[in-house]
Symmetry: C2
Subunit: 220 residues, 2 copies
Amino acid sequence: MAAKSERTRELLVETALRLFRERGYQETTMRLLAAEAGVSQGSAYYYFAGKDELVHELYVRIQQEHRERAEPLLREDARLAENLRTVLQAGLDTMDPYHSFGSTMLHAALSRASAVSPFSEESAPARAAAVGLMHQVLTSSRDTRSMSVHPRLPELLWLAYMGVTLHWVTDPTPGQRRTRRLADGVAPIIARTVALSRLPVGRRLAADVFALVDRLAATT
Amino acid sequence: MAAKSERTRELLVETALRLFRERGYQETTMRLLAAEAGVSQGSAYYYFAGKDELVHELYVRIQQEHRERAEPLLREDARLAENLRTVLQAGLDTMDPYHSFGSTMLHAALSRASAVSPFSEESAPARAAAVGLMHQVLTSSRDTRSMSVHPRLPELLWLAYMGVTLHWVTDPTPGQRRTRRLADGVAPIIARTVALSRLPVGRRLAADVFALVDRLAATT
């Protein structure tokens, strides 16, 4: 039973992701989803309360796939700039099939208190995994491996990746090539900033940034 | 005639902004707008092709009001950190009445190739004015007044302000107090970064950032 239930859920998710890609968010109704998956509407609603839960599932899967794609590409002999670039580009590769769906997803994500938001309580596990990938970038790279990493630094790298994602969603250039260049260009800039934050002249600035992030996280 | 036409247009804009604040974007139809302004629907459409043009008008007015509010508050004896903080907070003060309408406005703004976007061709004059305000912050403040300002720096400050705005739109805390803290905290961090970019150790990093912005601006 558990296995069958898991298979039905999986079938619904796969079908929903295909419909989102092929028909977009508006046209993908729960009715159409049930019909395409060959299950009853009641059954579809048993697994997912609505489309937003499927969008959340998409976000979770994109995170997973991003991590699976990026991890084997991280090189122990590479520097932070190069490994970070690899991770950013792997993220863009992963999201690529969903570009036409991106602005709808963004709209859902930006609604305040939306479960779909990457900043929501519900997204905490997916977010932790994504931040974990950034932590891995820091511990893999030869120039940052032995550095004592501030607990907030992986989170800031993830935030930079969210910025790249925002640019990607609204990027009107063919194949989102401007975002590709942004990822290539921003990776060495971030790596240099990390290096600078360890020099006496940058230490105070870094401390201010981390203190601000702490202060904001504590503001409710 | 020109004066009367200008008055009708103004009446429509004022009415639309009030309806956006009071009823939100969805409920503000062109029909309701015409009725509330006491003009015919034909007349309303003569001035504005649709609601999106009114959203664009709102963006333009917010920029103007932001500038008018911020300029007299800039102090010649203050440092960049303080004047920048003043400008960021003045922006939040200006947008405050429209917070409930913010995520709709953001959705319109993020649609690729949307005229409403602050990055669009249509928004170029409003954007130039907003970037101009940042230029003024640099030339007003006593620690940056005599500095040779890179042509891209005011644009980057404006981009940081766009980041604060994005945080504001999605800020669920009462009175958007987290965004207020972000503005207070980020202003001295930006000022310190600007100072650092003039030291030998930061010069190369700053050059990389400006080169990246140039490269992205040239990518179509």
